[in-house]
């Protein structure tokens, strides 16, 4: 390719003063939602190493990414949810890492926007209960009093509501339903990768949901905030306020959420606090993780993983992902802890 031949010569200069001096291929797999951010990180990391490194990230999905990591097929995984031991994943990952606990650090936070397409309306305020009832097909028209009460200024038509959910299993759905379950009283389903309500409009992938919402009439859906584009978004009721999705709001929630129970030091798994009333917090978020080992058999592999992950959680890395993929950067305290865990990766 026209660009690859000279990549090594001219790009090291502008990227960073801390040239890594690494070379080789680093392979990862996992959440498709991370792909764009991974592309940005790969670019930065490749630049740091003067184009002698190639990072490959297979966006096969979180589940398959974790499976690939556990089987030893890839050096790290990207995942929308942390390892759990329901099907022995945590144990499997430990085995894969030579008996040491696997590393789980947050890669970034994504606010999940509730987005809609309704003629004549470009902003709405909704509380968790109303959102839950809409997605549970309990509220079926846009001029339902439950909606109207919260939006006295909006000119709500008599249009039927078409809620759009994900047809594929997805981390977004799991976090969204987790939010509905915890923040509302009218959502009776478990948090799951598969959308639990039967029937209704479903679409493949974030882009599918966006297409369906923008192509339909009276549609409402949920999707990664960065992908919403021109569509209108719902401000969600937190405490007494309505909060629009934002990177800052997402970061606040992550920072104030408790760690998952019974985890090792190197495992930063978090149970998001969906009912947070913190000012400015936006609790409909997805926390995306990076999964790796503390030790690798191969020195080169260890160096590459360490270097790459440490770039990801660095300010530079977080900024690159924010620019390219529109994700929300980690708060500095979270990033600092992640950095110290990643720095401890060794070979042996």
């Amino acid at each position: 390719a026209g660009n690859e031949s000279d990549a090594g010569t001219d790009s090291g200069s502008d990227s960073s003063d801390t040239s890594g001096g690494l070379s080789g291929d680093l392979n990862g797999a996992g959440a498709s939602s991370q792909e764009k951010a991974q592309g940005a990180w790969a670019t930065g990391f490749q630049g740091m190493n003067d184009g002698n490194v190639t990072v490959n990230y297979d966006p096969v999905g979180s589940g398959d990414g974790r499976t690939n990591f556990i089987s030893g097929g890839v050096s790290f995984a990207g995942s929308d949810s942390y390892l759990s031991d329901d099907e022995g994943e945590l144990t499997g990952a430990k085995d894969r890492c030579g008996g040491t606990d696997p590393i789980e650090v947050p890669a970034y936070v994504s606010p999940i926007a509730v987005t809609f397409n309704l003629e004549g309306v470009d902003a709405l305020n909704l509380d968790a209960d109303t959102i839950a009832q809409i997605f549970d097909n309990k509220i079926t028209t846009w001029n339902d009093p439950a909606i109207a009460d919260q939006n006295p200024d909006a000119d709500l038509p008599d249009t039927a509501i078409t809620p759009v959910h994900r047809s594929d299993d997805s981390g977004t759905t799991k976090n969204f339903t987790d939010y509905l379950g915890k923040a509302s009283s009218s959502w009776s389903y478990e948090a799951e990768d598969a959308f639990p309500v039967k029937g209704g409009e479903a679409a493949e992938g974030t882009s599918g949901v966006i297409s369906a919402v923008s192509g339909g009439t009276g549609t409402i859906g949920y999707a990664d905030e960065s992908q919403v584009g021109d569509l209108s978004v719902v401000s969600v009721k937190v405490g007494e306020e309505y909060v629009a999705p934002s990177a800052e709001g997402a970061a606040i929630v992550v920072e104030t959420s408790p760690a998952a129970e019974g985890r090792a030091d190197v495992d930063m798994a978090v149970d998001i606090d969906r009912t947070s009333t913190e000012a400015g917090a936006y609790p409909v978020v997805l926390l995306s993780y990076l999964i790796a080992c503390q030790t690798y058999e191969d020195q080169a592999e260890a160096d590459l993983v360490k270097g790459y992950l440490s770039y990801i959680v660095s300010d530079e890395g977080q900024q690159a992902a924010a620019d390219e993929a529109g994700s929300a950067p980690l708060s500095s305290s979270v990033a600092e802890r992640a950095q110290s865990i990643v720095d401890a990766i060794t070979a042996g």
Partner: protein, 313 residues
């Protein structure tokens, strides 16, 4: 010139070797296909059979595997049937235009343009399906719901996005038209002139000539073409996954948001987030699709041979 009939000089001996080697290769190729298919089957069986009997939580709302796979199978077959119903007459029509109706100047570009359709990747069909076709069909579904809602097919409520199983079937139809057309027009145009002229000389109109001389001659090829198209329709993954609003149960309602997924698209949608146990379930659905394809072909073949036998009576 050799003086005996039995092969003796080296050239002839080599020819015999050539024949043996060549037929050996041909046989090996045939067997390779059997092995490949057996490989796929064994793979599906080994990886999929554990998926037949998992705890109920692996099957979503259903309580067992059969409850899980039934709507998927239904969706697969329904979409494929819609596709065939739409595509087969169109494809045969186009094939006839190209082989017998249009002058060569017109036929060649038409054939070329249709072949182009075969080149469009399924992802692009998917993209086009969501962003162009579905919005166009949305008002049609609303109209059908209002005016033909008494038919179970159009019971509604009409989808708000147009991404229904009927839309998916139409996209599939467009995808399989070039396959069916290409093979059909090839066999149509191979009809011997002698037979066509026999019909024309009896005072047959063009259509009667087609019926008397072309169709009977091409029948086996036409069936093959349809089976190829059906295979693609049953197994299409990405386009269906992208276009269809999936997740519903068994229903003949063609215009609502709630549609059964197809087996292939369901695998693609759920494979990504699948844990090993869930993947076994998905592969088991793949096994079911494989067996269904087997049965469909079996039935088709049986019908064809039965007809042929009737003919030879």
């Amino acid at each position: 010139m050799a003086t005996t009939v039995v092969a003796e000089d080296t050239g002839q001996a080599k020819a015999r070797v050539g024949d043996r080697v060549f037929s050996g290769f041909a046989l090996a190729a045939g067997i390779a296909i059997l092995v490949a298919l057996a490989g796929v089957f064994i793979f599906l069986a080994i990886e999929g059979i554990p998926g037949l009997a998992k705890p109920a939580e692996f099957y979503g709302d259903a309580s067992n595997f059969w409850g899980y796979v039934a709507p998927l199978l239904f969706g697969t077959v329904l979409a494929a049937i819609i596709a065939l119903i739409v595509a087969v007459p169109l494809a045969w029509g186009i094939a006839l235009v190209v082989s017998h109706y249009a002058p060569k100047r017109v036929a060649t570009p038409i054939a070329y343009v249709i072949d182009l359709l075969a080149a469009v990747p399924s992802v692009v069909f998917g993209l086009w399906g969501i962003s162009v076709l579905a919005p166009q069909l949305k008002p049609v579904y609303v109209w059908l719901d209002e005016n033909a809602g008494w038919l179970p097919f159009f019971a509604g409520p009409a989808s708000g996005t147009g991404r229904t199983i009927l839309t998916a079937g139409l996209v599939l139809a467009i995808m399989i038209i070039p396959i069916i057309t290409a093979i059909s027009r090839e066999v149509f145009s191979q009809t011997p002139r002698l037979h066509e002229e026999a019909a024309l000389a009896l005072g047959a109109t063009r259509w009667e000539m087609v019926r008397m001389a072309v169709f009977p001659y091409a029948r086996s090829g036409m069936v093959s073409a349809v089976m190829l198209g059906l295979g693609r329709a049953l197994g299409e993954t990405m386009a269906v996954a992208m276009v269809l609003s999936a997740g519903g149960g068994i229903s003949f309602n063609l215009i609502s948001s709630t549609n059964p997924a197809s087996i292939a698209s369901n695998i693609a949608s759920n494979y990504k987030e699948g844990t090993p146990g869930k993947i076994q379930v998905l592969i088991a659905t793949g096994l079911v699709l494989f067996l269904v394809t087997f049965l469909v072909n079996f039935a088709a073949r049986w019908i064809v041979t039965r007809n042929e036998r009737k003919l030879a009576r």
